[in-house]
C-alpha cells in the first residue's frame, strides 16, 4: 500500500472482497482514489502494487491486485453505487480546477467532500482528460471514464466547457479563493522530418484529424478512434517512438485492422521509455520493432507514403550519430509520431507568480502549492508526464493543501481564534 501513489489500503480492500463485502471494498478503494475504477484498468500494476507484493519473495505470482480492484469498483458501479459523501457541511469558498483530467477530478472530488464549492473547467467537449481521450480504448473505454466523471459530478462538482488562457486565469484568480492547475501537457511534439507537412492524404475526418493527413500524432489518433470517428489506418502503419503512448497507438492500429505495424525507435530495446510489460504486450499484438533508426524524410508514393530512414549509432554517452550510407525506405499508409508531449509553457509561464523549471510547474510536494499561494498544481504539468494514479495522488494532495491553506487564511482573518485553530 506504500507502493500505491494514492495509498489505497490494498490488504483491507482485498479482505473485504474475501469477506463478501464488495460494497465496503469499493468504498475503501474510492475513498483513497476517486478514479479507482480507471486506475484498476490503466495502472502499471507491475511496477506499483503488484510489483511490491510480498509473494515475489516466495517465487510466486503476485496477488492480482489490479483485477481485484477492477472487480470491486465495477461491481459497485454496476449495482448503481455512488461515491459515498463524507460530510455535508457546506463551505463558502470557491475553487476552480483548470483541466478536467484525473488530477483535477481528484482535486475537485476531495474538495467537494470537504464541502467547498468547486468548478472544473476544460476546453474539450467531454471531461476526463486523457482518461477519456488519450488512454487506448482497449484499456479504458471513454464511456467508463465518463461514468467516473459522473460520480464526481454527483458529488456536486460543477463542470464548464471553456477555453482558458492567461487572461482568463487572471480573472479566475480574482473570482475564486484558490485555483488548481491540472492542465496536463500540451500537443505532441511535431515530427521534424522533411516532407512531413505535405505528404499523403486521408487517415480520418473527425476529431482533429485532418482529412488531408496520413500523418497524425498518437494522441490525436487515439482521441479520434475513442470518439468513434470513422478511421482507416491502411494496411501498413509506422509509429515513431517507443514510449507507453507509442505502444498504445501501435496496438490500437493493429486492432483497427493494420496488417503490419512497425515501431521505429532511435535507440536500443533496453533504452525504451515504455514499461517492459507494455513492450511485451506490443510483441504479443504482433507489433514489429526497428531499433536504432531515425525517420529522415517522407514522400508521397503512388500507393501511400515512402518513409526514408537512417540507422544511427549510439556512443557511450548516449549520443546518436546517423550512419552514412545506411538509408533505407519503408512503404506505409500512415505514420503516427508518438515522440512526447510538449509542456504548456506559454500558458503556464504567464500565470502570475507561478514559477517553472524545465517546462514543469514548481510546487511544494506535500501541498501542491505553487510560488503564487493562491495557485496549486498537480498531474502531468508538474511531474512531466506520469501515470493516472500519480495525477490522482497529486490532485488529492493539492486538495488537502488547498483546504489547509484556506482554513489558515480564514483563521488569520480572525486573529483571536488563531491559536485554537492551529492547536
Amino acid at each position: 500500500m506504500g507502493a500505491c501513489p494514492t495509498h489505497i489500503d490494498v490488504p483491507r480492500f482485498i479482505q473485504k472482497i474475501a469477506a463478501g463485502n464488495v460494497t465496503g471494498s469499493a468504498k475503501t478503494i474510492l475513498d483513497a482514489n476517486v478514479l479507482g475504477a480507471s486506475c484498476a484498468r490503466v495502472c502499471p500494476v507491475e511496477v506499483l502494487c503488484e510489483g511490491a507484493c510480498v509473494l515475489h519473495g516466495k517465487h510466486q505470482r503476485p496477488i492480482e491486485i489490479g483485477r481485484l480492484q477492477r472487480f470491486a469498483t465495477e461491481t459497485f458501479y454496476d449495482a448503481g453505487g455512488k461515491l459515498p459523501l463524507r460530510q455535508r457541511e457546506e463551505r463558502t469558498q470557491r475553487i476552480a480546477c483548470i483541466g478536467a483530467g484525473p488530477a483535477s477530478l481528484a482535486c475537485a472530488a476531495e474538495l467537494r467532500q470537504q464541502g467547498f464549492r468547486v468548478r472544473v473547467i476544460d476546453r474539450r467537449p467531454l471531461p476526463g482528460g486523457l482518461n477519456t481521450y488519450g488512454v487506448a480504448e482497449y484499456k479504458l473505454r471513454a464511456a467508463d471514464s465518463l461514468r467516473e466523471v459522473e460520480m464526481v459530478r454527483n458529488l456536486g462538482v460543477e463542470f464548464q466547457i471553456r477555453h482558458v488562457d492567461a487572461a482568463s486565469l487572471a480573472v479566475l484568480e480574482r473570482e475564486f479563493d484558490a485555483v488548481f492547475l491540472g492542465v496536463g501537457l500540451g500537443a505532441m511534439h511535431r515530427l521534424d522530418v522533411q516532407g512531413a507537412d505535405s505528404a499523403g492524404a486521408g487517415i480520418g475526418a473527425a476529431a482533429g484529424v485532418s482529412a488531408a493527413a496520413k500523418i497524425v500524432d498518437a494522441l490525436k489518433f487515439i482521441a479520434a478512434y475513442k470518439a468513434g470517428a470513422p478511421l482507416s489506418v491502411g494496411r501498413r502503419v509506422v509509429v515513431i517512438g517507443a514510449g507507453n503512448t507509442a505502444i498504445d497507438a501501435a496496438c490500437a492500429a493493429k486492432r483497427l485492422g493494420a496488417e503490419t505495424v512497425t515501431i521505429l525507435y532511435r535507440r536500443q530495446r533496453e533504452n525504451i521509455p515504455a514499461f517492459a510489460f507494455e513492450y511485451d504486450h506490443a510483441l504479443r499484438e504482433g507489433v514489429e520493432f526497428v531499433w536504432a533508426t531515425l525517420p529522415k524524410s517522407l514522400t508521397a508514393a503512388k500507393d501511400g507514403l515512402t518513409l526514408t530512414c537512417v540507422t544511427v549509432a549510439q556512443d557511450a554517452n548516449g549520443r546518436l550519430t546517423p550512419q552514412a550510407g545506411s538509408e533505407f525506405t519503408i512503404e506505409c499508409d500512415a505514420v503516427i509520431p508518438a515522440i512526447g508531449q510538449s509542456p504548456l509553457v506559454e500558458l503556464l509561464s504567464q500565470v502570475r507568480g507561478v514559477t517553472m523549471e524545465r517546462g514543469r510547474v514548481i510546487i511544494d510536494r506535500a501541498t501542491g502549492q505553487t510560488a503564487n499561494p493562491k495557485f496549486f498544481a498537480g498531474g502531468d504539468c508538474v511531474n512531466g508526464g506520469r501515470e493516472v494514479v500519480d495525477a490522482v495522488a497529486d490532485g488529492k494532495r493539492a486538495a488537502l493543501g488547498i483546504a489547509a491553506w484556506l482554513s489558515e487564511q480564514a483563521s488569520e482573518q480572525k486573529p483571536a481564534r488563531t491559536e485554537e485553530h492551529r492547536g
Binding site: 515475489h56 516466495k58 525504451i272 521509455p273
Partner: protein, 463 residues
C-alpha cells in the same frame, strides 16, 4: 514393507483403516467396493428399527481453500429394514472373510431388544458389535444414541445386557457431548466393553443463511442441531482419546478405535501414536471417495519403514505419555523466535501478530545493514509509512530502487525479534507464510529444570 495387520480385541483386519458407521457403509455394495479399494474394515451404518430421514441433511464449514473443513449432519441411523442390512452383512462376510465387518447397533433401551439384535447381527456373521451410544441428534430424542451415552449408568447397564448375549467383541462408541468423557468410558468398561470407539460427532449448528435467516441445513424452513465431524474436530478427538487412554482409575484401558477428522496417513499415524488400535474414517471418504485409503496405506507403510517400525504395535501409544499435566512442564525452558532474513518476504504478519496478539517483541525498525551487530535499534522511520509520497517509477525518469541490505527483501521490511522480551509463544512462527522462515530456538537459561509442582512443593517445604 511394514506389517499393517490389525487385531482389535480379537477383530482382525488387513490394515487399521476402517470405515466409520455412516453413509459410506450404508449398503453391502458400498462396503464391498470399499474393501476392493483397500479398506481393512467397515463399521456398518447403524442398524435398528428403520427410521424416516429428512431432506436436506448436511451443512459444512469451509476454511479458505479447504472445503468441508467441518461437516454437520442430521441424518439418522439406517433407513433400511434390519433383515436387508443383515442379509448384506452375510454376503459381504462370505465374499470378504479376511476383512473386518462390525455391526453398529441401536435399539430401544430394553434388555430383550438388545439381546435379540445382538444375536441377529452375530448370526449374520459380524466380526464385532459397536454400540451406538453417541448419535447426538434425532435418536437421542427417542431415548437412544447420546441419550444413553451421556449417562454413565445407562451406558454400563446396556453394555452389560449386550455382553450377556454377545459372542464377539463389543465396542462402545462414545459421545463427546459430555463434561468428562472418561466417566462414560469407565462405565463402558465396567459394563464389560472389549473396546471403545471415539469420538462420535459433536453437537453443532454450522451457520445461518443471511438472506433467509435460516440456520443450515434447511428442512422446509426449520433446522435442527446436528453432529459435527471432519478435519475441524481432529484436535478434540485426539484430546479425548488421550484422556480416555491415560485414565486407569478403575482398571486397565481397553483398545480404542480412533475417530475424528482422519483424512490421510499422517492423521492416522497421530491417532496410532496416541494409542489407538484402529482408526475409522468417514468425512474424508464422503469428500474424496474410497480411493483415499490407497494413499493412507502407502504413506503409513513408508513412514513406518523410514522410522523402523515393523508392526503397528511398535509405534502404538508412543506419544500417549508425552502428554502430561501442565504442572509437570519445565518452567525453566526458554525458546525464542528467530527470523531467517534470507527467507523473509517482508509481509510483516509476524510483527502484527506479535504486537496485537502476543507480547510486542517483534519490531519493524531496521533501516540499514548491520552496523552494530545483527540487531539494530532504531525508531520506526516515518518515511516508511503512508506519509511517504510515492510515484510510479518511470524507466526514463527514475533510477531503479536500491534495496537495503544483503537480502532479497529490503532490510527495512524485515522484522526483528527482541529476544529479551520474546516469551517463546510460537505465534509468529504459526502465522508466517514461509516454511522455515521463523524458527523457535532454545535459549539456554542456565537453570535446572523445575516444574510448577516442584516449585510449589519446595515453597511449601520452606515454610
Amino acid at each position: 514393507m511394514a506389517d499393517l495387520t490389525t487385531n482389535f480385541a480379537g477383530i482382525r483386519s488387513p490394515n487399521p483403516f476402517w470405515l466409520a458407521s455412516a453413509p459410506p457403509t450404508n449398503t453391502g455394495e458400498q462396503v464391498m467396493r470399499a474393501f476392493d479399494a483397500g479398506w481393512g474394515g467397515a463399521v456398518w451404518k447403524t442398524i435398528g428399527e428403520p427410521i424416516t430421514n429428512v431432506s436436506s441433511r448436511y451443512s459444512s464449514i469451509d476454511c479458505s481453500a479447504q472445503r468441508m473443513m467441518g461437516l454437520n449432519n442430521i441424518e439418522l441411523i439406517s433407513d433400511r429394514p434390519i433383515e436387508v442390512n443383515l442379509r448384506e452383512i452375510a454376503e459381504v462376510k462370505r465374499r470378504y472373510p479376511r476383512h473386518a465387518v462390525v455391526a453398529s447397533l441401536m435399539v430401544e433401551s430394553k434388555r430383550k431388544a438388545w439381546h435379540e439384535i445382538v444375536k441377529r447381527a452375530e448370526g449374520a456373521g459380524a466380526d464385532g458389535l459397536e454400540l451406538n451410544f453417541g448419535c447426538p441428534h434425532g435418536m437421542s430424542e427417542r431415548g437412544m444414541g447420546s441419550a444413553v451415552g451421556q449417562v454413565p449408568e445407562y451406558t454400563q447397564r446396556i453394555t452389560q445386557w449386550v455382553k450377556e448375549a454377545a459372542q464377539t467383541p463389543v465396542l462402545v462408541k462414545l459421545t463427546p457431548n459430555v463434561t468428562d468423557i472418561r466417566t462414560i468410558a469407565r462405565a463402558a468398561r465396567r459394563g464389560g466393553a472389549d473396546g471403545l470407539s471415539a469420538i462420535n460427532t459433536i453437537n453443532s449448528i454450522t451457520g445461518i443463511d443471511l438472506d433467509t435467516f435460516l440456520p443450515r441445513p434447511n428442512v422446509d424452513g426449520k433446522s435442527s442441531h446436528g453432529g459435527y465431524c471432519g478435519p475441524a474436530v481432529k484436535p478434540i478427538a485426539l484430546n479425548m482419546i488421550q484422556q480416555v487412554l491415560a485414565d486407569t482409575l478403575d482398571g486397565p484401558a481397553v483398545p480404542i478405535s480412533g475417530i475424528g477428522g482422519i483424512g490421510n496417513w499422517q492423521d492416522a499415524a497421530e491417532f496410532l501414536l496416541m494409542g489407538c488400535t484402529s482408526v475409522q474414517v468417514c468425512t474424508a471418504v464422503m469428500h474424496f471417495g474410497y480411493r483415499i485409503v490407497d494413499e493412507m496405506i502407502d504413506g503409513l507403510s513408508n513412514w513406518m519403514d523410514a522410522k523402523g517400525f515393523a508392526t503397528l504395535d511398535d509405534l502404538r501409544g508412543k506419544s500417549l505419555h508425552k502428554v502430561t499435566e501442565w504442572k509437570h512442564l519445565n518452567l525453566n525452558f526458554k525458546i525464542v523466535a528467530q527470523i531467517d532474513e534470507a527467507l523473509c518476504i517482508g509481509c510483516q504478519l509476524c510483527h502484527i501478530a506479535c504486537w496485537d496478539g502476543a507480547h510486542q517483541c517483534i519490531h519493524v525498525d531496521r533501516v540499514s545493514g548491520p552496523i552494530d551487530g545483527p540487531v539494530e535499534l532504531h525508531a520506526r522511520p516515518r518515511e516508511l509509512g503512508r506519509e511517504k509520497i510515492a510515484v510510479t517509477p518511470m524507466p526514463r525518469l527514475d533510477p531503479p530502487k536500491q534495496r537495503v541490505g544483503p537480502y532479497a527483501t529490503s532490510l527495512e521490511r524485515i522484522p526483528r525479534v527482541d529476544e529479551t522480551e520474546c516469551v517463546g509463544c510460537n505465534l509468529c512462527s504459526l502465522v508466517c507464510p514461509v516454511d522455515g522462515c521463523i524458527k523457535m530456538i532454545e535459549l539456554p537459561t542456565g537453570l535446572p529444570p523445575q516444574t510448577w509442582a516442584e516449585r510449589t512443593a519446595r515453597l511449601r517445604s520452606e515454610h
